[in-house]
Amino acid sequence: MAYTKFIHQEDLGKTIDAISQLPELKEINNFEIRYLTKDGNVKYMSWNAMYNETDGLMYGYAKDITKTKENEYFLLKSSQLAKIGGWKFNVTTKQLDWADETYKIHEISKDEGISISKALTYYSKPHKKIIFKIFRDCFKGHSFSVNLKIHMKNSERYKWVRINGEPQFFNNKLRFIQGTYQDINDEMINKIKLIESEERYRFALEASNDFIWDWDIATNKVYFSEQLAKSLGYSVSEFDQNFFLEIMYPGDKDKMISKVYEYLDGKSEFEIEFRLKSSGGSYRWFRSKGKALFDHDSKPFRMSGSFADITNIKNKESQLKSALESAVAYQFALNKVSIVISVDCDGKIDSVNDQFTKTTGYTIDDIKGENIYFIFGKAYKKTVVDKIWSSLKQGVTWEGTLKNKTKDDRDFWVDMYAVPLTQAVDNICYMFIAHDKTNEVQIMEELEEERIKTLQSSKLAAIGEMAGGIAHEINNPLAIIHGYASNMKTMIENNDIESSKILVNKIVNTTDRIAKIVKSLKTFSRSSEHDIFQKVDFIEVMNDTLTFCYEKLKRNNIDLNIEKPSDSCMVLCRQVEVAQVFLNLVNNACDALEHADQKLLNIKIKYLKNNELMVSVIDTGSGIDHTIKDKVLNPFFTTKEIGKGTGLGLSISKKIIDSHNGVLNFKSKPGHTEFYFTLPRAVGLDELDGSFE
């Protein structure tokens, strides 16, 4: 096989040339050539060859220089990449020479040439001083390596360079100083950026709750943020790694050490929670994360990381845990006694408990996935549910009492709490918790029925006392009508039509008088059952009620005087009940005045400062004897003769006023007995109009 087969294609020409020239040149040394190996790699060989004229043969030997060549190649490449130039200073001649790359770094052409003075113009004053100093050292035989800034000509730019220098002695005399010249701008800028960002990181950490630590493994020195010592109440100077381990919770120490080893062995991430004792003696929780730097032999030489004070988080965790535990207990208890309904975020029923079924008759299978309206049963009021729903959507708990129908049409009542959850759990956004109060309500209703019956009978008693007056108030106008009508008949018989027309009007007006009395009577004797709280003008209530009293007043020669505000007096009350109270007081006052010398009935109506209306009924009678003052408001207590009073008027009146959140009381001395009661004024209570059962 031809020897030339193995020669690298590119080297083939020069090899053939060299061989053909060898007889003439006799000898070729260090001829470098590339060969291809069997496995396709390239090998560098260095040949030495001779031509023997005597036998006409060529002799040669070669050595493998592949390694050397590769090194050279990498050096060249890397110096190009690293932008390394060279320089040489002749101490004797003061001549400075630069390599091509050095010129390039300075961004000038080689043709411009260089001198020491020109080279120094690239440096600032402080940097020049550094150069002089290292040159003086160099004269004494010290080599140097220094990073300096050079300022570019005709621009504001500068560049970082690294200058290495070495003195060259010949015969103990310094002849040259020479070395490399390298553009390290990118490296320096990155380094500066790194420092800046590290500083920023440190600032950020110091501003936050985090502290940093930095462990130099070789010297076993640990740096801690000063803030760590401060936050625990220790002085910064005493705080080192020994102190750190000293104040660590005993149980955490071994954990910490084994965690560090595990991490350095590459077994796990370094993240650990541990406790440190503060100067006050309490332990605070910290969480630390860290990372190590490893050298070429995979040996760690530095490790650093951060601490975060997680005491608050830990406390919250434990609170949450105990809260969860008690929540479970509550849930159990709640399930036993209350209706619990969970509703998903779309407002659909997700689950109900047994109590719900017990009260409403519906099982979860009946209503799962139904709209929330269904929770309120088949007789729900849309306005009410909308109110609850909008409250929930605003994140506000709604509470109130609802009445509804069970599956088999019985009434039920619940006190309901509709609670929006702050965080959805399994898509449950709302909980409805209700307490069945059907029995309670039924008992209350029975009591209320009793109360109404009592009220009704006592009211009828009060009106009975006025019955004569009422009859008179109707009969008198009737007589007037009768009189006018008979006069009219005469007028018509006499063809006096004009006069009779006047009488027609008088008759009409008089029938109105009767109608008004009948209306008052109707209002008053209406059953209290349907008497609801409403805004009423008390003056109207008073006038209606007094209609029954005028006759009694007149019969007893009692003068009536009324002091009242000029405008209407709106109060929030049950109209019939309040009329009953007022009638009772007027009735009593009339009775008290029956045998009095001065017969004056004073009615005073005025506003109190606390937004109440006060009604006083004052008589000039002999007063209430102090021996019976305590009993006056008791049921069945009466000073009236048998058949005239039930003894219930005042006690029922007091109950009525109590139920209006008012006060009924009296003060009495001879000649002045005042019974008074208060009622809440109806101002700003419009929203109650929309209230529901």
Partner: protein
């Protein structure tokens, strides 16, 4: 003939006036006890029809006044809702008759016709 009609209800006075005019009376009205006394000071009446209870003065006050004039009492008919003052007592005072309210006009007129005409 002159008649004085006393009642705090003007309607009553008007109705009575018409009826008495038919019988040939000329009538004055008074709506309180004091007004009645004032009219009696100026005029002499053959007939007085009056409420017993009135604002500002009662029927008894009116009789007391008339007696104080020292003249013969006119025919007095008292109207009353209830007989708080015993009827006999009033009759002893010289009252012609006492009629209950509400007024039965026919009864009243026949009483007038019987006693005065």
């Amino acid at each position: 003939m002159k008649a004085l009609l006393v009642d705090d209800e003007q309607d009553i006075c008007e109705i009575l006036e018409f009826k008495l005019q038919m019988l040939g009376f000329s009538c004055d009205h008074a709506y309180t006890g004091n007004e009645a006394i004032d009219l009696c000071k100026k005029n002499n009446y053959e007939l007085i029809i009056s409420d017993i209870r009135m604002p500002q003065g009662s029927g008894i006050d009116l009789i007391d006044f008339l007696k104080s004039k020292g003249q013969n009492l006119p025919a007095i008919i008292f109207l009353t809702g209830h007989t708080e003052v015993p009827e006999q007592e009033l009759l002893d005072l010289g009252v012609l008759t006492i009629l209950e309210k509400p007024i039965d006009f026919d009864k009243l007129l026949s009483c007038v016709k019987q006693n005065l005409l």
